[in-house]
Symmetry: D3
Subunit: 136 residues, 6 copies
């Protein structure tokens, strides 16, 4: 009998979508205004869902403070107020689409999470564009 627990967070970052193997024209064709060479940016909203048994002593699946600190060290400190293409190793050779970002964030958190807990990450690039990844 497992309960899911969610903590929300957010960070603000600049990025550019382009594939260095393609011409500027092909990038413009595929990525449109997201290919702006001087970058644009977003307020990213994040939901981190962790699923597991309730601990009988605490009534917690996970102490939300542990989850909050994990999100801070693995996601916010790494990406907040950064240029994803220029300032991070994760997106040096990976296009920072929302899809690639949600997989990167899932792996960063999964690596630090106790093994018995399931993980799902939801990332809002804008209020209207959302991605979700649960490792499957």
């Amino acid at each position: 009998m497992k309960v899911s627990v969610c903590r929300k967070a957010h960070f603000n970052a600049a990025h550019r979508l382009y594939n260095p193997k393609w011409s500027f024209e092909k990038n413009q064709d595929v990525f449109g205004k997201c290919n702006n060479p001087s970058y644009h940016g977003h307020n990213y909203n994040l939901e981190v869902w962790v699923k597991g048994e309730i601990d009988k002593e605490t009534g917690y699946v996970i102490d939300i403070k542990i989850l909050k600190d994990l999100i801070k060290s693995e996601v916010e400190d790494r990406f907040d107020h950064k240029n994803l293409n220029e300032d991070t190793i994760e997106f040096k050779n990976l296009i920072p689409t929302a899809e690639n970002m949600v997989v990167v964030i899932w792996n960063l958190i999964k690596n630090k999470l106790p093994k018995h807990l399931d993980l799902k990450v939801v990332l809002y690039e804008t209020e209207r564009n959302v991605v979700e990844f649960d490792g499957k």
Copy 2:
């Protein structure tokens, strides 16, 4: 390893809930004020979730513009600023409850979507009443 991608949209429509095989009294009993013969209306909010592998070249599961255009042609152009009972063939013989609407919308989008992508549709009739369908 599959990622879900969501695009949100909305449309405004009028409708009436009633079963033509029943008396006005029975309709009133089952559907209450939703049975108003001169119609009432809603701002419908829509979430269209598409699930698939990330394309290595683009970093996309699906170009969100394709999804946006699909929602426009299949849903918004069909239902926005319409009377669902009077102006649409989909609800000529089908009661436009949120449940029936979400199945209709799922089928309309599924028919135009590449076969390898999974689809889930969430429809908000009001901020407090929501329905969801994933084809299963």
Copy 3:
């Protein structure tokens, strides 16, 4: 020293925007798809703001229950699940634009409100279109 108190409410209605003195073509030109003769509809969200001195005995500007009941009798019972053009006397001869609606609602509530209280009404026709009226 005056404090403002707000109560939120909502109602769902159908309407059509057209001026009966104009041709269908002119109405189409001015009101576009809002001129659909079979109507369309909205979830209207309402904020009713009342401003006055705090009563020393209760700590209230107005008992929020009084305000809630007033909104129910004057607005919700009158407009919820109605066709504004067909089912209401207020919009028999008045185009139910958000602007006209907010003035009508302001007057309906003002008439029943204790005289010493100021009133402001905010009406959301959609999440993106809002109107506001304070009687001045």
Copy 4:
């Protein structure tokens, strides 16, 4: 072919997180300011999701009014404007964490729900802390 239907609700309550088998210091260590002996409180937001086949006659999975009444009698009447630790039998011997609350609420609703319907409950303790339980 099943559709999910959601009804949202909310209630306001006071609570304190502590394990009576522990010292005050250990409780302080585990629960921090949530261990305040004079209590603190929350606006809880609730989503109740019910999944089943669409009834051909009504177009409903469940009459939303039945669901609304069920939420009122089982959740709102029991917990709204209450002190969870002091005023309820459910949390006399169970720590009112969001995790324990969502399981309690799931069971209360499940007991009254027609057997053929699946149930999922989502509980927002704050805008940023959410839990979810579907009985599995």
Copy 5:
């Protein structure tokens, strides 16, 4: 030429509405379930609006970090995870209605704010009940 700048914050607290000069019955009559002697609680959301000239060197009306720290020291540290009636001197002899709370918070912040800045405070007791005070 003045610009307004807003910072949002939130805190969670328990409270009870009652006038100690009245009988339990009269309190019940006026405050209803808010008179529960074991308390209930809320997630309070706060908007602090500060108005002034833009500083030419910084482009700021006020460094939002200063405002954030001020809200933390004057409001969050004082009221978050507290019982307003039991744990605070501000509401020892003042009924903690939203109206009284917004005036108290306005005064606490005003006292620490540079004199040339105007102040308005908005307090959400729930998503539907809001109060506002600007010192006039």
Copy 6:
């Protein structure tokens, strides 16, 4: 008797806060991580409020489509998916703080708006940081 009408919009942009007359250290001291030389970014949400008399023939203060087009040409086309510091003339020599941005946007719209209409602009840099300007 004047009614206010609001249209909401949004745009995504990158920016950096720094004063070119200062050292990097002083900029870091004043603007912190907002001084990142490779930029960061935001989803900006915009509310444009226009106030005037209701036109008797149309029931409109302003045709919302005119307002929508004005926001598109003056704000979205200019700033959406842009680097404010690099790609715009407005912020070549002006720090793109939210305060400076709201004044720039107010002037851009005011110049194109019919003279008899009052204008107020609200700009959300994040969900928690908001600025407002009405020209006074």
